[in-house]
Symmetry: C2
Subunit: 415 residues, 2 copies
Amino acid sequence: MNNIVNGSVTSPAGFTAVAVPAGLKKEDQLDLAFVVSERDCACAAVFTTNQVVAAPVIVDRETLAMNNTAVRAIVANAKNANACTGEPGLVNARETQRLTAVALGIRPDQVLLLSTGVIGVQLPMDKIRAGVETAGEILQHKEAKEQREERGREAARAIMTTDTRPKHLAVAVELPGGGLVTIGGMAKGAGMIHPNIATMLAVITTDARIAPDMLQTMLGTAVHHSFNRISVDGDTSTNDTVLLLANGASGTAVADEQSYTLFTEALTFVCTELAKMIVKDGEGATKFVEIQVTGAATDAEAHTIANTIATSPLVKTAFAGSDPNWGRILAAAGRAGIPFDQNQTSLWIGIPSAERLQLVAQGTPTDYQEVDAAHVFAQPEFQVKLQVGMGMGTAVVWTCDLSHEYVSINADYRT
Amino acid sequence: MNNIVNGSVTSPAGFTAVAVPAGLKKEDQLDLAFVVSERDCACAAVFTTNQVVAAPVIVDRETLAMNNTAVRAIVANAKNANACTGEPGLVNARETQRLTAVALGIRPDQVLLLSTGVIGVQLPMDKIRAGVETAGEILQHKEAKEQREERGREAARAIMTTDTRPKHLAVAVELPGGGLVTIGGMAKGAGMIHPNIATMLAVITTDARIAPDMLQTMLGTAVHHSFNRISVDGDTSTNDTVLLLANGASGTAVADEQSYTLFTEALTFVCTELAKMIVKDGEGATKFVEIQVTGAATDAEAHTIANTIATSPLVKTAFAGSDPNWGRILAAAGRAGIPFDQNQTSLWIGIPSAERLQLVAQGTPTDYQEVDAAHVFAQPEFQVKLQVGMGMGTAVVWTCDLSHEYVSINADYRT
C-alpha cells in the first residue's frame, strides 16, 4: 500500500471533481462541490444514528434504497445543514438533486447529497441553483490530469466549515492478481467534541470493481475502526455521512478473500487517517491523544470506557494544561457505566519514543516522578493506557485537548 | 415554610459547627470543618454511583452500615479528595475519623467524612491532625447563638473549592401538630458540567425526630428532584455525597403521613435551592437555564433527553453567546438515544414575565422573529421547553452556559 502524494477523491481513475463559490460562505470561498464518476458506481454509505435527521440524509437513504449500483455524482455544500427544516427542507434537497442531475446529464437517482453547516435555516435555493449550474458548466470542458488532481483538493476545501485545513489523501494498493487499485478520500470535521455533535462528512472513492453488498460490509468494518473511534457511539450529528463510491475504472475486481482483506485494510487506513486529521484539527486542539483501554470484559465495554475518558472536559483540560492530573482519567472511567474493581486498575502514559510511565498499579499510585509525567503530558502527541483488570476487551480512541479559557479555570486546579 | 435569613446547617436546634484553616488551601483560608450535633442523630445518605469511589465514601458506607442512629459529627476537608489513593488513603480516612472522635469525645463510628479536591494524592495527615485538634479545642468553649450561626456559614465556606461563594440556607416548617422544625443545609459544587464530574457535597441538618428508614426515603425523594436534576444520571464524581442528620432536638417527631409530606416538601425545597446555587455558581457561568422536556414516553426518557441537552457543549455555548441557535437543541435531543419522531417535535423558549416564544411547530421552524428569540437568550435566566410528542413523560433540569474562549469559536458560528 503506497500513499499518493497530495492524493484525494480524484486520485482513483474515472473520478473528477469541481468546487465553486456559490455565495454560501463569505468572500468568494469555495462552498459547493461535485464529486463525479464517468462510470456507474456501486455505493456504500453509513449515516448518522441521530433521531433528528437532516433532509439530505433522508433523500440519500431513499435514493440508495432504489439505486446503489449506478451512482454517478455527489453534490456537497457547506454553511447550511438543511436539518430541522421540515417539508420545505426536503423539497429543497430533492430540487438540489434534480438540478445536479440536469447539470451533469444524468438521472436524479444517480446523485447523492451532503450538507453541513447551520441547522434550522432553509437552503438559499437561488445560490444553490446558480452554483450547481456553474459547476456543471466547468465540468463540460475537458480537463488536464493536474487540473483534475487540484479539483479533488478544492472539493475537500469546499466542504470545510470550522475546519482550519482541508483533509484528503489517497493510497494505491496492489491486489494478489497484480491489479492496482486506488482509494481516495476527503472529510470535514471539527467541533470541539468531534463527530458526536459537529457534522462529520466523508467521501471515499475507488476505481476497484466491488459488488455493493461487499462494499457495504467493507465500509462498516472501516468506519467501526476509524470514524467511530473519534465519536461516542450513537452520538452523531443530524448530518453525519460517509459515502463510498466504487466505479471499477481500474479494471480490477475485488472478489476473492485475499483481495477483500487487503482492500479492507487499505480502506480502513484511509478512513483512520481522515479520522485522525479530524481530531488533530479539532477546534482549538493543541494535543493529539490516543486513549487505549485494555482488560475490559468486552471490546464494546472497553470502547465505552475509552469514549468516556476521551470526551471528559476535565480530562481534556488536563491535557491542554500539560497537567498529569490522572485522577480525572480514573474518575471518568468510573462513570462510564461499566462495572470494574478500582483496586485492579493500572494506568500508564507514554510517547512513541520512550518506555511507558506507570502512574497507578492495582489501584494505588506508584512512586513515579511528577516531572516525568508532566514531560509526557507536555508532548503534542501521547498515549494514555488504562487496564481495568476484568477480561480481554480492548479499544483505542483518539481525542484532543480542550484548550483556552476553560483551561484557565480547570487546568490549574491543582496549583 | 419560612426561609431563615442567612440560615445554614447550624440553624436547627442542637447543631453547631466550626471551620479552621488547616493549611490545605493557601493563605490561611478555611479548609477543614466540623458539623456537630449535641445529641445522637438518625442519618440518611446518598453517595456517588461512580465505579471509582473515594476513601471517605468507602468509610462512610461502612460506618453507616454499623450505625445510622447515633451519628454525632461530620468532618469535611477541601483541596484533597482522598480518591484513587489505594490502601494508604483508606488508612488516612479512618485515622481522620478516629482523630475527630477523640477531639469531640465520641466514638469513631459516630463520625462521617467528606473530602473534595484533587484526586490521587495522599492526605497531608500532619495538617489534618493539627486542624482537627484546633477545631476540637474551639468547640470546647461555649458559644453564643450569633457565633453558632456564623460558624455554620464558615463551614459552608471551608468546603468550597472552585466555588466562588458559599452555599447555605435554612427553612422553618410548622407541622400539623403545631410543632416547629428547622431544616438547614450547605453544599459545594462548581465544575463546568456540574456534579457529573466535579465533586458535589451537601450536608443537611434538621432538629426534627425522624426514624432512619423514613429519613432515607425522604432524602431519596428530595435528591431525585434536586441534585439529580443538575446531573447526568449515574455520572457522578468519586466523592459525591449528600448527608442528612436528624437529631430530634426540636422535640417534634415526623411520623404521620401529613407531616411526612410537609417535611419532604421542605427538604426537597432546601435541596433544590442548594442545587440551583451550584448551577448558578458553575465555573464561568453567566446564564441559568431551565430545560423542560415534555411528551416523552416516560419521565426517565424525558430526563435523559433533558440531560443530553443540558450537557451539550454546543447548546451551552449558544446560551453563552445569546445565540438562539435552536438547531443545536434538537440535535442534542436527537442523540440522547431515545426514539422520537422529529416531525412531532415542538420547541419554545421563555422568560418568567412573558409568554413563551414558539420556535418549532411539528418539526418545522415557525415564522418567529430572530430579534425576539435573541432577546430571550440574552436574559440571565430563561427556559427551554421541548415537546417530543411521544407520551406523557416530563422532566426538568437546570444548567448554565459554557462561556469564554470556547465561545469565541462556537457561539459565533452562524455569523
